[in-house]
Amino acid sequence: MANDKEKSKSEGEPTESKVDTSRPREPSFYEAQKGWKSWAFTLDHKRLGVMYLLSTMIFFFIAGMSAILFRTELLTPQGDFLPWLNQQLAGMMGQPISIEEAAAQSGTTYNKLFTVHGAVMVFLVIIPSVPGALGNFLLPLMLGAKDVAFPRLNLASFWIYSLGAIFFLYTLFMGGLDTGWTFYTPYSTNTGTAVISATAGAFILGFSSILTGINFMVTIHKMRAPGMTWYRMPLFVWAIYATAVIQVLATPVLAITLLLLMVERTLGIGIFDPAMGGDPVLFQHFFWFYSHPAVYIMILPGFGIESELIAVHSRKHIFGYKAIALSSVAIAIISFVVWGHHMFVSGQSELAGIVFSFLTFAVAVPTAIKVFSWVATLYKGSIAFNTPMLYGLMFLFTFTIGGLTGVFLGTLSVDVHLHDTYFVVAHFHYVMMGGTIIAFIGGIHHWWPKMFGKMYHEGSAKIGALLVFVGFNTTFFNQFVMGGQGMPRRYYTYVPQFQEQHVLSTIGAYILAVGLLWTATYLLYSLRKSNDAPVADNPWGGASLEWQTQSPPIEHNFHDTPRVTTGPYNFPQIDRTGEVDGH
C-alpha cells in the first residue's frame, strides 16, 4: 500500500510543472515499437486505450446512424420512409418487391433499428467508452504507475470486447434483433429474431467489463506511486474506482440473466415463460438489478471527467473534494437497491413500488451534491472558455435537466403517466448523451494533446460544440412535452397530433449528426503528419500526474517513479497568501 503516513498536514507546496526540460525528448510510446503486432499484442495500457477509443467511436457512429434512419422515419405519422428504403434495398439486392410488401416488413425494420441503436449504444459504446478509452489511458498515468496491475488481462479484455462486438455485428446482419435493448420476456423468448447471438454477445461483453473492472480495482489499490494517498487521487480515478466496483458486483447478475434467457429460448426451462408456468416479471427484476446500476456505470466516469475539466480549466482547487469522491461511492452502493423504479406499473406489489420510489430519491441527493460542488468550483476561479471547458459547462446544463427529470420518473403517481413515453426517452438521452457522451467528448478534447501530441483547430472545435449543443437540445427537449402528452415510446407510427414535435426532433437530430461528424473530422484532421506544430506537454496547466510527463507519454510513462507530495488540484495559480478561505 502506498504510505498513508506520508500524508502531510497541509497539502504541501503547489505543484510546478515537473517535466524535466533539460532531458532530451525520448520517443513516445507510439514510436517505441512499430508494426501491427505492436498493436494487436500490446500490453501497453496507452495503446489499448487508443484502440478502445477508435472502436467505441466506430460503434457510436453505427448506432448514431441507425438513430438518424429511424428519426427520418418519424418525420411522418404513418410509415413511409422505411418501406421506401426497404424497397430500394431489395431492388439493389436483385429481388425487387412491391411497396406493399416492403411496408409489411417495415414495422419490424423500425423495431430492429431502435434495438440496434439502444443495444449498441449501451453495451458497445457508453459502458466501455470512458473506462476503456480514457480509463485505460489515464489511470496508470494519474496514479504514477507504469501500467495497470494485469496488462495481459487488459489485452484479453480488449479482445473479448471485440469478440462480443463481432457477435453483435453478426446479429445486425443475420436477421437483426427486435426485442428492444431490455430483452423483456416473454417477447424475447418468442420472437423469431437473433436473440441468442445478441445475448451471447452481451454475455461476452459482460466478461470484458468484469475483467476491466477487476483490473482497475486492483490497480487503484496496489499501484499507486509513493505518496499517492487515497485523498490525493484525482477525482477521475475515484469515479473509475466506483464504476469498477459496480461493474464487478452487477455484471455477474447480468451474465446469469442472459444465460437463463438463452437457456429459456433453447431448452424452454420455463422460469420466465408464463405459458410454461414461469413468471415473466421475474426477468424484469433480474434485468434491472443489473441495468439500473449500469446506468451509474455509464454516468460515474462522466462525472469523473467533469471534475477534471471544471477544476483544470478554472485553475481552482475542486470544491468539496471529499464530498465528490465519497458521493460516488454512495451512489455506487444505493444504486443496487433502486431497480424497481423501472417497474412501477409492471404489477409488482404497491409496497415494493413505494420502497423503490423512496430509495430512488435517496440516490438523487449525492448527485445533487456533485452538481452544486462543480458550480461552486467555478467561484473565484479563472475560467477559460476553451473547447474542453465548453463541453464541461454544457454537461452541467444538460445533465442537470436530465437528472431533474429523473425526479419526475421517481415519483410514483407521475411515473404511472410518464412510464414508457417519450418523456423517459428524453430523460435518458439527457443523462446519457447530454451527460456521459458530452463529458466524454469534452474529455477527448482535454486529453487529445496528451494522447496524440497534436492540437485540433480551436475555432472549428467551437463551431462543433455549438452545433452539438443546439442539435442535442432541439432533438430531445420537446420530447419531454411530447411524452407528457402521452406519446408512447418504441412507436413506428403515431397519431398525427405529434407530427410537429417529431419533425422538430428529427431536425435537431440532423443538426446533432452534422455537429458530431464535423467534430470527428477536425479531430482526425489534426492527426495528419504535416500538423507538426509542437504541443506543450501540459497545455492546460493541469496539476495531476498525467501532465507531469511527456505528451504523448514515453513507453513506461515516467522516467522515474514520481513521488507525490500534494493533491491533484493544487494549481500554482491558487492564491495562498490569505489562506483564510481554505478552512
Binding site: 414495422g107 415473466p280 409492471s346 438523487a364 451534491i369 442537470t400 410514483l412 412510464h419 413515453t421
Partner: protein, 358 residues
C-alpha cells in the same frame, strides 16, 4: 348489474345515441382535433392530482435549474480568465454550505415522494362498487368485454383506430386485464392511468372519467411488429346514455338488411382478424384471406385441404372455433386464439361469405 336491472326498453335518448353510434367506426378521430402543444385534457378523477404534482415538480425543477445555471453563468462572466497569471481562490470546501445543499434537496424530495406515494395508493385501492370490464391484450389488438352485459365486446383493429371501450362519466370503472401472448400495457393519457397487461396473471386498474369525449388509448409495452398500431379510442358518455349506447355499439349486430358479406367485413375488422390476416395477398401472422376460398392448403402434417363447398365451410368454422386442430404449414401453431363462444354461427356464416368475395 344494478343498472341493467333498471333497464327498460330503449328510451328516446338511447335511440338518439344509437343513431350517433352508427358512425362508431368512422367517427372523427380525436387526435385530429388536438393540437401539438395544447395541454392534455384532464378527464379522470386522478388527472388533476397527477397534474398538480407534475406542475409542482416542474416548478421545483425550474427553481433549482435557474439557481444552478444562474450561478454558473454569473461565475462564467465574473471569473472569466483575464490573463494567464490570474490568481484563484484557495477555497476547498465549506461544511456549512455543503450540509445545506444536501439537506434542503433531501427534504424537498421527501415531500415529493410522500405526495406521489399518497396519490399512487389512491390509484391502487380498487373501489368496491364499480363497472367491471375485462381486457384481453394480444398481438396486436385489444378485446374489451363487459361481464355485466354478456355478449357485448369490442376488439380493436390495427388498420383504423376506433372505439373499443365505452365508459360512463362519473362512475368508477374497474378493469381486470390479462394477455394471451406477451406483455402489453394499457394506457389512456387523459386519465393518467397505465398498467401492464401480463400473460398468465391478472392485473387491475380503475378510474372514474369526468369529461365526456373520445380519447386515445395506447399499448405502451413494446410487444412486437405492430406495437404502434395496438391503439384504440375510449368513449366517455353521459351516464344516462351509456347503457343503451354500449348495448347498441358493442353487440356487433347485423344492421337492418345488411348483406352477409358486408356484415362479415365488419366482423373482420371489429374482431381483430385483421391483425393477423390480410385481404391483399400478403401473409402476416396468419395466412392471407385473399383467394382463400377455393385454395388448397397444405397442413403441417402434410395433409391437404381444399377450401370449397360444404367441406370448406366446415374447415373454416373449425379453424375459427378450434384453430389448432389443423395448422397450415409455414405458420406457427397456437398463435390464433379460439373464438369459440365469441362468434355466433350467424357471424361465422357472414365471415365465410366475406371470404368468398376476396
Amino acid at each position: 348489474m344494478i343498472l341493467s336491472m333498471f333497464m327498460g326498453p330503449p328510451t328516446e335518448a338511447a335511440q338518439e345515441v344509437a343513431k350517433n353510434t352508427e358512425t362508431v367506426a368512422t367517427v372523427e378521430p380525436p387526435w385530429e382535433t388536438l393540437h401539438s402543444w395544447a395541454p392534455l385534457p384532464e378527464a379522470s378523477t386522478f388527472a388533476p392530482g397527477t397534474e398538480t404534482l407534475y406542475m409542482f415538480i416542474v416548478w421545483l425543477s425550474t427553481f433549482f435549474f435557474v439557481v444552478v445555471m444562474g450561478a454558473m453563468f454569473w461565475f462564467m462572466y465574473r471569473h472569466r480568465r483575464r490573463g494567464d497569471d490570474d490568481k484563484t481562490s484557495s477555497i476547498t470546501h465549506n461544511g456549512k454550505i455543503e450540509f445545506l445543499w444536501s439537506a434542503i434537496p433531501a427534504v424537498l424530495l421527501l415531500v415529493v415522494f410522500v405526495w406521489g406515494e399518497l396519490d399512487f395508493i389512491k390509484q391502487s385501492v380498487l373501489p368496491p362498487d364499480a363497472i367491471d370490464i375485462r381486457i384481453t391484450g394480444r398481438q396486436w389488438s385489444w378485446t374489451v368485454e363487459y361481464p355485466d352485459y354478456p355478449g357485448v365486446s369490442f376488439t380493436s383493429s390495427t388498420e383504423t383506430p376506433e372505439v373499443v371501450m365505452m365508459v360512463p362519466k362519473g362512475r368508477p370503472v374497474r378493469l381486470t386485464m390479462t394477455s394471451t401472448d406477451v406483455i402489453h400495457s394499457f394506457f389512456v393519457p387523459v386519465f393518467r392511468v397505465k398498467r401492464d397487461v401480463v400473460p398468465g396473471r391478472y392485473t387491475n386498474l380503475w378510474f372514474e372519467a369526468t369529461q365526456v369525449g373520445e380519447y386515445n388509448m395506447y399499448c405502451t409495452e413494446y410487444c412486437g411488429e405492430q406495437h404502434s398500431k395496438m391503439t384504440g379510442v375510449v368513449k366517455v358518455l353521459e351516464p344516462e346514455l351509456f347503457e343503451a349506447a354500449l348495448l347498441e355499439a358493442g353487440k356487433l349486430e347485423r344492421g337492418d338488411g345488411e348483406e352477409d358479406k358486408v356484415y362479415g367485413a365488419r366482423i373482420y375488422k371489429r374482431r381483430g382478424c385483421d391483425a393477423c390476416h390480410s385481404t391483399d395477398g400478403l401473409a402476416k401472422t396468419g395466412p392471407t384471406w385473399k383467394g382463400l376460398w377455393g385454395r388448397t392448403e397444405t397442413m403441417k402434417d402434410g395433409s391437404t385441404v381444399t377450401i370449397d363447398g360444404a367441406a370448406g365451410e366446415n374447415y373454416i368454422s373449425e379453424s375459427i372455433l378450434d384453430p389448432n386442430a389443423k395448422i397450415v404449414s409455414g405458420f406457427g401453431g397456437a398463435q390464433m386464439p379460439s373464438f369459440r363462444g365469441q362468434l355466433s354461427d350467424e357471424q361465422i356464416k357472414a365471415l365465410i361469405a366475406y371470404m368468398k368475395t376476396l
